[in-house]
């Protein structure tokens, strides 16, 4: 192995690691605030890429239809809740929020997609549409059982994963898609070629991580989420609505996953079922961080990415084996070093 190959592999590993890091952050965030192990995060990523690829061809019917159907379901649930609680004062506002906003997004997609808008607009539309799915899923699937045990929430996540997988096959077809590269530039430093695309992925991931850090440390909403993550009951006593925290968390989580989807679209072919494996690697990284620590999870993601790149060079047949075997020593180490306490059940 010469320096050139080493540099290329490292570049590949860091690029993938940056995407895994974002996914790991989303997983840690969602778990910390809502205790949901967010298995379908990968599907959100795949939906991101495939929606963008669909927009390239002037099609957005699948995702727009899905938004519309979910908006109607969420609205019905709001109405049912209002009737049950005999509390109709806020109904108009919640209907505007749960049905109006997603329907507006779906309508925009439906109208704008055939016009083949510029690439930047397509990306914005994709991010908006996939992000809107996050809170809708929370409202429909998780909010009614928000107090259930981690296991029940996990089972719901698995069910959603399969539902989204099937819908993905239906919307986007069995074959994969790629999106055009953001940039075809490449730079050379001391004989080592670095593609602009990789730099862009890493830079965007870093920017998003910094933005999230600022959000959690500097803004009221971010602090509210952190408070909920630290102590759910305490946060509630302090006036932070757990429903609101959950909705906001899923919005952020979906945004991060959609972003990942847009980032990896030009690097690799994405299929309707690609997301699971990517999110599983993000999950390995999140486990390294104990589903709690953001910086360790990000470092873990980098480790997973590099390990994957180098093992695909030396032993391509065993690549996944090597990456997923990593979780065993990590779990062992974590269970030996942390004091485990049951905080529920």
């Amino acid at each position: 192995m010469d320096l050139q190959i080493f540099a290329l592999l490292a570049q590949d590993g860091i690029t993938n690691g940056a995407v895994y890091a974002l996914l790991a952050l989303a997983l840690v965030l969602v778990f910390a605030v809502t205790r949901v192990i967010w298995v379908p995060s990968g599907e959100f990523l795949a939906y991101g890429t495939l929606t963008l690829a669909g927009l390239q061809l002037g099609k957005a019917s699948g995702i727009a239809g899905m938004l519309a159907v979910m908006a109607v379901v969420a609205a019905l649930m709001e109405v049912a809740k209002a009737i049950r609680q005999r509390e109709t004062r806020h109904l108009a506002r919640s209907l505007a929020w749960w049905a109006g906003a997603p329907l507006a997004i779906a309508g925009t997609l439906h109208l704008v997609a055939p016009m083949q808008p510029p690439f930047v607009v397509q990306i914005l539309l994709t991010l908006t549409a996939v992000t809107a799915l996050g809170p809708l899923f929370y409202r429909i699937a998780y909010q009614p059982i928000a107090e259930a045990s981690v296991l029940v929430l996990l089972i719901v996540s698995v069910a959603l994963h399969f539902a989204l997988l099937g819908l993905g096959l239906w919307f986007f077809g069995a074959e994969g898609s790629r999106t055009p590269p953001f940039t075809s530039a490449s730079y050379e430093w001391g004989g080592i070629r670095v593609s602009g695309q990789s730099l862009l992925v890493v830079a965007t991931s870093l920017a998003l991580i910094v933005a999230l850090a600022l959000f959690f440390n500097r803004t009221l909403y971010g602090r509210a989420l952190r408070a909920t993550a630290v102590n759910r009951v305490g946060a509630r006593l302090a006036g932070i609505s757990p429903t609101f925290a959950g909705t906001l968390t899923f919005t952020l989580g979906a945004l991060v996953c959609a972003f990942c989807g847009v980032l990896i679209g030009p690097i690799t072919t994405v299929y309707y079922d690609s997301g699971f494996l990517v999110s599983l690697k993000g999950f390995v990284a999140a486990i390294i961080g104990g589903l709690a620590s953001y910086p360790i999870a990000a470092a873990g993601a980098l480790l997973v990415g590099l390990l994957e790149a180098f093992s695909s060079y030396w032993a391509s047949a065993f690549k996944e084996v090597i990456v997923f075997t990593l979780i065993i020593p990590v779990l062992l180490w974590r269970s030996l070093t942390t004091h485990h306490h049951e905080d529920e059940e």
């Binding site: 190959i5 290329l8 995407v19 069995a174 074959e175 072919t269």
Partner: protein, 381 residues
């Protein structure tokens, strides 16, 4: 409300599934992989079964099409259900080699002939008491691998590299191409594996390129075949790139784009039927099928052709079997098996000449070398 809808939907599905054999109709039970990893192969197959006529030789034919989700266990369940509950006269399926291999026992136990739509020669070879009942329509990997080796030799290739799926498809191709390469005197200097869903194949491709082979074969099916190809182009690989017939669908062309130019692959003649000489009998059959398919479902894939070929085989064999016995009886199934074994049928992928020792029956007429040229399949000279 949702539950009621679910129950209605379930009832509808079951009623289709159980609408099986009213006596004396011919019942064909199909299981294919319309969902799961092999969906890109299974969906055009399912579409093709929707096109098929409901009578053969004046008898009504019931096509019962089930989805096995690319899952081996489900394929066996489907096969048992079709044989046990629907009393099918012939079993068709499944899409993939592992599923088809697993279904063999069910077919033999039920004394029902089975026509597989999967490629591996192991499904029908060697001829024995079990494979007596089993037939298959797609070209064997060996036939296609030989075509690749011959083409490589003609292009002056002395060393080759291989990158393929880390599954039955990729391993099967690796074994076949090693055999063909040895026969033609080409050295295999690098072997790499990757997964359909890998987000990057940089490592494998770097290693391949470092071995400096004259040509590289990519053993993959569908759009995943584009991933190593694009990476090879990005790494500046200048040798010839070969693909297998697994990528012969329009989505592969869409994803690989300009990076696919010059790629060679063996394929069934239906893929390029317009370019065949009029003297070739396959041209007319392929034209009939593809015109009907493209009118309803869009661009052709060779996988749909394998499904249509099972129909052509049955259309040839059923009149013979009807002379012997009534559908729905064991005698009819035996007669159908005997008739299939004597089949001599011009189909979309070639000419089937079945014998007791060859339950595939395809020969050199079932392959053409095709070059990708600006998003089109062109017969390579």
């Amino acid at each position: 409300m949702f539950q009621r809808k679910l129950v209605t939907a379930l009832a509808a599905v079951l009623s289709i599934a159980f609408a099986g054999a009213s006596q004396a109709d011919i019942t064909v039970g199909v299981t294919l992989s319309a969902t799961g990893p092999a969906a890109s192969l299974g969906i055009p197959e399912r579409n093709t079964f929707e096109l098929l006529p409901t009578t053969i030789a004046g008898e009504k034919v019931n096509w019962i099409v089930l989805d096995d989700a690319s899952d081996t266990t489900k394929a066996v369940q489907n096969a048992k259900k079709l044989i046990g509950e629907n009393r099918v006269d012939v079993l068709v399926g499944s899409t993939t080699t592992p599923n088809s291999l697993a279904m063999i026992d069910a077919a033999v136990e039920g004394e029902t002939p089975m026509i597989s739509m999967a490629a591996s020669a192991r499904i029908v070879d060697p001829a024995n008491a079990k494979t007596r009942w089993i037939f298959k329509t797609p070209q064997s990997d060996a036939l296609m691998a030989d075509a690749i080796a011959i083409s490589m030799k003609a292009n002056g290739v002395q060393t080759m590299g291989y990158i393929g799926f880390a599954d039955a498809y990729g391993d099967g191709w690796l074994a076949e191409i090693k055999r063909s390469a040895q026969v033609t005197g080409i050295k295999v200097v690098a072997e790499e594996k990757y997964n359909r869903n890998d987000s990057s194949v940089t490592g494998q491709v770097l290693k391949l390129v470092a071995a400096k082979p004259d040509a590289i074969l990519i053993g993959a099916a569908g759009t995943p075949g584009a991933t190593p190809q694009k990476e090879l182009v990005a790494r500046g690989y200048k040798g010839k790139v070969y693909q297998t017939h697994g990528v012969a669908n329009p989505d592969f062309l869409r994803v690989v784009g300009a990076d696919g130019n010059g790629t060679l692959l063996p394929a069934g003649p239906m893929l390029v039927y317009e370019q065949l000489p009029d003297s070739n009998p396959i041209k007319k059959v392929a034209a009939e099928y593809i015109t009907a398919y493209e009118k309803k479902f869009g661009a052709r894939t060779t996988f749909g052709g394998h499904a249509y070929d099972t129909y052509l085989l049955l259309r040839g064999a059923i009149p013979e079997a009807l002379k012997v016995a009534k559908p729905g009886t064991k005698e009819f199934r035996v007669a159908l098996r005997d008739a299939l074994e004597k089949a001599n049928v011009v189909a979309t992928h070639g000419v089937f000449v079945m014998t007791p020792h060859d339950h595939n029956g395809l020969d050199n007429r079932a392959r053409v070398m095709v070059r990708i040229d600006n998003g089109k399949w062109i017969i390579a000279k």
